[in-house]
Symmetry: C3
Subunit: 335 residues, 3 copies
């Protein structure tokens, strides 16, 4: 009952938070047929600033971080990415009306990570004044890349098996390279490198961090509009996607929370860090994942996997999972 | 004489203010054939941020506002919008060389409201430290929508009357819907809703309000360039438009000031609020109005109504009406 | 030896500075084939904000500046622009495999000034807390315009001489006009005018100056990407361009430093101002110069002159010349 009460309080405060208000506002705007739109050039610059900001801060903190403390959460992040994909393939394979390629692509997208959900969680922790290791958001690629690779490799193997051929050689390295070359991960890694090697404190505080919340509010608006627009596409494909997309973020987040708890006990990973790990597990890729999977699993239907992720998965991750794991942490760690 | 002295002082300080300097700068830039241009994507984002900012602040303040205090100014705003259109139709109808449809469209545009002029007035009041109800800028749609609707309805009725048919059914509701769906009003209303229902204080102060003046300076530059570019178009049509466009903002502002004064005496509307009401009455729509009127009165010549508004009306409203009504308020209310 | 030690320390601190880190980061990003890109609309807005910021600050300071103190550095700036072009034409003319038109265009580009290098120098001086006259960056056009004009006039004269005709009348005034109409110089001059005539203090500090460092970091990233992309183009043309592009900024900077020193002794030009003059002499135009020269010397090969400037000249000016002239000033002026 404590969890429910805590969740309710956390959920209400999250509802009051501008992050969620802008997400819902975006849906309302799109539903009302408004002509309001955030220009694509501005949208792409906002993504750049958010991920550069996360990277810079992470890089500056990793410099002072204890490498031992960092290794286990990073390993767990990769493990979670792999588990989510395997779990997704099995689950979606059992649902009626779900095509094989679509199942792989959807599982890959839910294993990958969302920069917008991550940013929303960081703001929620800030507002509740729950501290976390500044390198925790840098766990992002450790989960993101294995999930995308595994999904694409499994889809290629399945295709080869079906056509009776010997398993076609899947270019794992080329998938890794493509992931790292994506604009979101590039910005994050560049930020990490500059944070680690240069001295970007003043420009981080005076610009990237300064614009973080405002740009996030604009991004949330775009996410909300996108979610509404994709809903129509989702309706055209099997309804089981919606069910999966609703339940999966919560299940994945619980896996993340459990492994985060293990890291808390063994290497002292902070409660805030556990929430971050749970939220990136709960999140599903909305910016960098779709193009990679589109290229890697060409047989999959974008309406199915992008629709499920953008129109159900992301709103659930932001609106339900963020307050849920904050509430859970408050009980488990007695915050 | 006091008014003249006050206006001169207020006008000079307005000239020194960056708002007007950027407006004039934009004209000079355009006149000199410079290749300097603000990219359209940035321009549209700036409009979004300005109107979201006005909306968020208004929403947060309406929460604590006395509804009774708000009702009368809102009613007056709608009344002013209607009066300006009727006055415009009569006046323009009497001028030689003005076509009927152009008269309706021009009257509608001068009844509608300009976000840039409103923002310039808010900054001028801030600089002079004249307080106003934060919900006063939210009077915008109460004047904007009735004016646009009335102009389009009158144009349709006139057309039907001329062609001997029964008045075609004009979709009033569809005009309201289209106005609300415009990107400017959508952003304003979304901001109002988030300000009312969520808790956007930090993101408002740390981002939207922070960027307000800077983005306004860039918008003024664009307005100045547009004004110069439209001047050529305006020259092609009847010169009476220019005369109307010069005199109308001052006359409309006086109507706004008079009704604002009534609200001051009856429900305690602040002097700053009276100035805001006078300035939005003086202003003419430059962003949201033109597309609505273009669709609603297809027979009207855009060079005429948009040219008159953008190249004469808006500069007069910003450069003359803002200092004029500040000076008038200083005398009337003894500020 | 002092210089070497000073340069090493200044170079290392410059390497640590985010300015250079973003430049190198941009090269790495481009070399790795990343899809990260700064949208063109944002890039153009960033240039506008940086040059407007330099202009506004310069304008506000010129108001209080002693005109006598300003005149000599301005004259020297023009002289340096002329000297660089003459020197470049002679030097490049002696190198094997360099076409005549390419030599004129390259010399013109290295005589013209780079806003990004200038901004990087301003931030470096700020970080080292070396004061400079705020009007010093406004020396920009005094060097930029004569260099561009001289290069185009010389190229036209050479072409006329070759074809045996009487020297075609070269429109000097039209080159000046075109330079001033370029988006970069327009923004700078508009900023200067507004800074001189209006009162833009609050909007300068609250917006333009606030965003300066962050926008510069983004611009550096773009410069780095551009430098890498142009390197391939440069490889196609004579390798002597690369040698010139490497050595010229240092040589030009020394000329600038020497004349700056004369101004220091005669009219008390500050050490920081001397560094600024040396750095704008070392810099080569990357934004405003290329289009002017492309139009003015149509026979020149853009791969040669833009490639040499963007991919070698600009990185050398930012990464080597800025710390070099800071170190030199520390020794010469005992900072």
């Amino acid at each position: 009952m404590d969890l429910l009460a805590n969740f309710a309080s956390s959920f209400l405060s999250q509802l009051q938070s501008p992050t969620l208000a802008f997400l819902i506002g975006g849906m309302v705007i799109a539903a009302s047929g408004s002509k309001l739109a955030i220009p694509d050039a501005v949208y792409r610059f906002i993504i750049f600033v958010l991920l550069m900001s996360i990277g810079l801060h992470g890089g500056m903190e990793i410099r002072e971080a204890d490498f031992a403390a960092l290794a286990l959460p990073a390993l767990f992040a990769a493990l979670i990415g792999v588990m989510i994909v395997l779990l997704g393939v099995v689950t979606l394979g059992k649902l009626p009306g779900v095509k094989r390629d679509d199942a792989y692509a959807t599982a890959g997208l839910f294993g990958a990570v969302s920069a917008s959900t991550l940013a929303a969680a960081m703001v929620a922790l800030d507002e509740r004044q729950i501290p976390f290791e500044a390198w925790a958001p840098a766990l992002y690629p450790f989960m993101d890349i294995p999930a995308l690779i595994l999904a694409i490799v499994l889809a290629s193997l399945a295709k080869a098996r079906q056509s009776g051929e010997k398993a076609a050689k899947v270019g794992v390295w080329s998938i890794i390279k493509e992931s790292l070359q994506g604009s979101a991960l590039s910005a994050l890694l560049l930020g990490l490198a500059i944070g680690l090697l240069a001295n970007p404190g003043p420009v981080y505080e005076g610009f990237y961090d300064l614009l973080f919340r405002g740009f996030l509010s604009v991004l949330m608006l775009v996410m909300g509009m996108e979610a509404w627009a994709r809903l129509t596409e989702l309706r055209k494909v099997a309804h089981w996607y919606a069910a999966y997309a609703f339940a999966a973020p919560i299940a994945h987040g619980l896996i993340g929370f459990a492994l985060g708890y293990v890291a808390h006990v063994t290497v002292g990973f902070s409660p805030g860090g556990v929430i971050i790990l749970a939220v990136i597990a709960a999140s599903n890729s909305d910016i960098s994942g779709p193009p990679t999977l589109r290229a890697g699993i060409p047989g999959a239907n974008p309406s199915a996997f992008i629709g499920a992720s953008t129109s159900v998965g992301t709103p659930v991750a932001i609106a339900i999972c963020v307050p849920l794991f904050v509430a859970l942490a408050e009980i488990v760690f007695g915050l």
